[in-house]
Amino acid sequence: MSPLFDLAGIHYAYPGHRPILNGADLQLFTGERLCLNGHNGAGKSTLLQIMTGLLKPSAGSVTAFGRERKAEADFTEVRRRAGFVFQDPDDQLFCPTVAEDVAFGPLNLGKSKDEAMAIVEATLDMLNLTSFRDRITHKLSGGEKRLVSLATVLAMEPDALLLDEPTTALDERTTERLVEILLELPQAMVVISHDPHFRHKIATRTIRLEDGAVHRPAPTCKHAKTA
């Protein structure tokens, strides 16, 4: 079975800094929930941004959904098929109202206003967020913003999800709700998380980014799961 994502030998350095990725490899297969950890500044977010073409690696190849992607135009399709949930929901939610934010993706994909509204209803309904439809995005609470961020990405009907620290600043109840939602979603996903309990609950596979390369972690405590 060919992987959804296949990154090989990725090198990357931010301008004026030491290389952050030194030949990192990553594969994501259908149905997987791949957890990615590593210390602060190890390049986890950078790797997700390279997967969606937001950053261009200095060396290495990105193969996504069966095709090698190089130019900016190649990544338009990747970004639609791989929903990126950003770490800070305030970056993700830029439209005035929740409905507009959720409809933004579908409308960009050329859906009509009615089709987009139907998708908004269906997506909010699936996440039990229907009552948020007409709320002003900047007046939502942190947890609400996070769930709406997920909705905005799911509305584009992606084949894979890339989540950058989705549990940051969430209380236990919202984290629990997020776990339930993620476990029910059919999409393959890459999840960056520093929370061992959260990883334990959702991961089907865990990898660790260290010294710019991807390792399979050796279990160091009872929370670690290498399966």
Binding site: T76, P96, N108, L109, T137, V153
Partner: protein, 264 residues
């Protein structure tokens, strides 16, 4: 600007009116157009009784909008502080019959009258704006302006400002708290100025970084240069009645001023 926007949405969020109808139920587009027409009319009035009548209409609108008194007064005062300097200077700069002298500077009657006229006009317009436009959510205002064919780029600027001014303000507040927590007390010295310089600098850097992240998030969702606004604004009979009423008021004010027809 920041204070206006910041206090705006919370202070006067559009709450459904209890019983009867108020300006809050009217179509936002009608409210904006009516305010513009009213403002254009008022700046062209000169006679005191007519200006007084215009101010009277504004007060009626203000009361029927049922705005919180304290906050509204504060906003009117904010505008008045801009005007007040001009009002004090105008009598001394306008030539005319001398009313009194201060340190051999002569104040003219013409200047005093002109200053009063400007004060009346400004207050009448601001009160009408507060009553009709100030009662909208800032976001609704953006939507309404977009439906009135205001250039898209201006609407985008406005909506992004509304969206992120709160986020920036929170960042600023967090930094201020962090400064306080380490014993910073602003006073009149180099250390204070330097620290505020850092604060502003950090805010700019963070805003720039955030704008880059937002652009990335937008790209990820297929942004192609267009923001889609979804709303269902409709004009009904009530809006037409209201617009008609305001047009009648405008016609009365203008014909009183220019044709000298005393209606009242």
């Amino acid at each position: 600007m920041s204070a206006l926007l910041h206090n705006g949405p919370e202070a006067i969020a559009s709450t459904p009116s209890a019983g009867g109808w108020s300006v809050r139920d009217l179509d936002p587009r009608v409210r904006i157009l009516v305010v513009c027409a009213f403002a254009a009319t008022v700046v062209n009035l000169n006679a005191f009784p007519i200006l007084g009548t215009a101010l009277g209409f504004s007060l009626v609108a203000l009361f029927s909008a049922r705005l919180p008194l304290g906050k509204t007064l504060k906003r009117v005062m904010m505008m008045d502080t801009f005007v007040v300097f001009m009002l004090f200077l105008l009598p001394f700069t306008m030539p005319g019959e001398t009313a009194f002298t201060v340190f051999s500077f002569a104040a003219s009657w013409e200047g005093i009258f002109e200053a009063c006229r400007i004060a009346l006009k400004a207050n009448a317009i601001v009160m009408m704006v507060l009553a009709l436009v100030g009662t909208m959510e800032a976001v609704t205002l953006g939507h309404a302006l977009s439906r009135l064919r205001v250039p898209e780029i201006l609407i985008h600027l406005m909506l992004f400002t509304i969206r992120y001014i709160e986020v920036l303000n929170d960042e600023q507040k967090r930094m201020r708290v962090a400064m306080k927590a380490r014993g910073f007390r602003p006073s009149n010295n180099i250390h204070t100025y330097k620290t505020f310089g850092y604060l502003v600098g950090m805010l700019l850097v963070r805003a720039l970084e955030r704008s880059e992240r937002i652009l990335k998030a937008m790209k990820c969702r297929g942004f192609q240069g267009k923001l889609y606004l979804l709303d269902d604004m409709t004009c009904n009979a009530r809006d037409y009645i209201f617009a008609g009423m305001m047009i009648a008021i405008i016609v009365v004010l203008l014909s009183w001023e220019y044709l000298n027809v005393p209606f009242v």
